[in-house]
């Protein structure tokens, strides 16, 4: 009997506590800065083009093969307005397939792809499965319109261990040699 009274006292105490829930669709909790929604592409405002060069490294490292990327010659490079020789032509991500592992962000050499940390990156209901395949304008829209204010872009993975790509290393050595 004592044990049951103890249990009843516990529930009565809990009745006077503040609720921890929020009324979701009308009221939303703030997402943490690192919140990992589905991947989207970033927009380079200086050059007015995508950061992505279509090098396909993300598609190669994707464990679930949810990306399709193609590359084209950059017309702005021919005009001398940009330093990117190649630029992304088509970019499809199948959000229904993506497992949000963050590996595409980790391997990207151009910091062109980030995980969406707004609510739009996690609220993803569609009437048709086909609508979950995002094309290039859909992937760039949030960054281009300025909706994506503060993406999480910390150096990740092997970038911590002092590893740099070979060509960067050589360039750095060349620079040092040239100045010296």
């Amino acid at each position: 009997m004592l044990g049951i009274l103890k249990a009843a006292a516990t529930t009565v105490r809990a009745a006077f506590r503040k609720p921890v829930t929020v009324q979701y669709p009308s009221e939303k909790k703030e997402l943490p800065h690192r919140s990992r929604g589905f991947p989207i592409l970033l927009w380079d405002f200086d050059k007015d083009e995508s950061f992505c060069t279509g090098c396909q490294v993300c598609a190669r490292y994707c464990p679930v093969d949810c990306m399709t990327v193609t590359m084209k010659d950059n017309p702005k490079y021919a005009e001398g307005k940009s330093t990117r020789k190649k630029i992304v032509d088509e970019f499809y991500i199948d959000y229904a397939r993506c497992m949000r592992c963050d590996i595409c962000v980790e391997v990207c050499n151009f910091d062109a792809i980030v995980m969406n940390n707004t609510w739009e990156g996690v609220e993803l209901s569609r009437y048709d499965r086909q609508d979950l395949v995002m094309d290039l304008p859909a992937l760039e829209r949030q960054s281009q319109s300025g909706e994506l204010k503060d993406p999480f872009r910390e150096p990740m993975g092997v970038a911590h261990s002092g590893w740099t790509p070979k060509n960067e290393k050589e360039e750095a050595e060349k620079k040092e040699g040239g100045e010296g």
Partner: protein, 378 residues
């Protein structure tokens, strides 16, 4: 409580045993587990577990992935103890490749794995109390506190369930600046939540009447069945891989290994509650000791190619011994990849524990194993 099977006397009506199908879609089984019960009245005379509904090839898929891509699949083998599974895999790869993770990374791993253990056991309390008949109340208490832990995980890793945060050689990125304070807040909430669960369940006569003496396993049987984790310790065998075979940095912490004495359903609940208190102790010590410094081993290659060889690494996951067996042939992908799931072995004792009990009690016995079907079927 065993009810004897009574043969019908001459003047009585003939009785036959009936098969009852429980699951795979049934509110009282956990996940898509199916069992075919043979019942004599209310008493179970035979039990036939059927598994395999959740098979996704989580052992075979990483053989086509490099060592970083495989981490995401380990999250999905045990979706309630993701950090333990990741920990096991990255420790295995590090041993194979001869890497040493820096101290700070190891402390981060241990803190997150222990918090994950608390979250997993809270999930057990929610589901198990619902099985016993404490409908909703304990579930809400447990999930309230589990939510605080998940919020912390989301702040650290960005994800709520499939973290993909540990890497061979360290962790993906550093914890936020306020990690220490936030963890202390979470621990305070967990402590008050554990008091709630303690007051609600552990002295409650109704819970005691349903759980005491049910599904007892003797220590010898527990070892012979290959049980591990809380199932084994509830039978009185003091075996915890964190203590018996310290991996990572578990030899630096003081903690007790709680054991039960009867090996029944109540003891399994009691052992899990005590384990949560011990995990809180470990996290507190780890927070105090956590050093500053790098979070990734020096000189990591962009693509990891461990030398040819094989390794079996096991860790203490919330459900017991979780093991990973990897054979490497020197390439960037594992040649063979095998997972030892704790739930699978623990589930093998279900039939022996259940025969002779009422149907309603079999549901509690199944709940006390705390199975995760993803880990059983993989």
């Amino acid at each position: 409580m065993t009810v004897e099977h009574r043969a019908p006397a001459e003047h009585e009506l003939d009785t036959i045993d009936i098969n009852i199908n429980v699951g795979p879609q049934h509110p009282a089984t956990h996940g898509v587990f199916r069992m075919v019960l043979t019942v004599d009245g209310e008493v179970v005379t035979d039990l036939d577990p059927v598994i395999g509904y959740m098979h996704r090839g989580n052992e075979k898929l990483p053989e086509n992935c490099d060592y970083r891509q495989a981490i995401g699949y380990h999250d999905r083998t045990d979706y309630l103890a993701q950090f333990s599974t990741e920990h096991c895999f990255v420790e295995a790869v590090e041993t194979l490749a001869g890497l040493t993770a820096p101290d700070r990374a190891e402390y981060i791993r241990v803190i997150l794995a222990e918090l994950n253990r608390i979250a997993s056991h809270l999930m057990f309390f929610g589901a198990f109390a619902t099985d016993v008949g404490v409908f909703g109340t304990a579930f809400m208490y447990a999930f309230r506190d589990r939510e605080t832990i998940q919020d912390l995980f989301e702040e650290v890793t960005g994800e709520r369930m499939m973290y993909n945060y540990f890497r061979p050689g360290g962790v993906a990125w550093d914890v936020p600046d306020d990690f220490s304070e936030r963890t202390k807040q979470v621990l305070a909430k967990i402590n008050s939540g554990l008091n709630d669960l303690d007051g609600l369940l552990m002295d409650n006569e109704i819970v005691l009447a349903r759980c005491r003496g049910l599904g007892s396993v003797s220590p010898e049987d527990a070892i012979n069945w290959g049980l591990s984790g809380p199932m084994l310790r509830a039978s009185g065998v003091q075996h915890d891989i964190r203590r018996a075979e310290p991996y990572s940095i578990y030899d630096r912490f003081e903690f007790d290994v709680p054991t039960g004495d009867q090996g029944d359903v109540f003891d399994r609940m009691y052992v899990r509650l005590e384990e949560m208190h011990q995990s809180v102790r470990i996290v507190e010590q780890a927070l105090a000791q956590m050093p500053e410094g790098p979070i990734m081993a020096e000189g990591m290659k962009r693509i990891l190619r461990p030398p040819a060889g094989e390794i079996y690494m096991r860790v203490e996951s919330p459900r017991g011994e979780y093991g990973v067996y990897i054979v490497s042939n020197g390439s960037d992908k594992p040649y063979r990849h095998k997972v030892r799931g704790a739930s699978f072995s623990n589930l093998s004792a279900l039939r022996a524990m259940s025969i002779g009990h009422y149907v309603a009690d079999v549901i509690i016995i199944l709940g006390s194993i705390d199975i995760v079907l993803c880990e059983v079927d993989r």
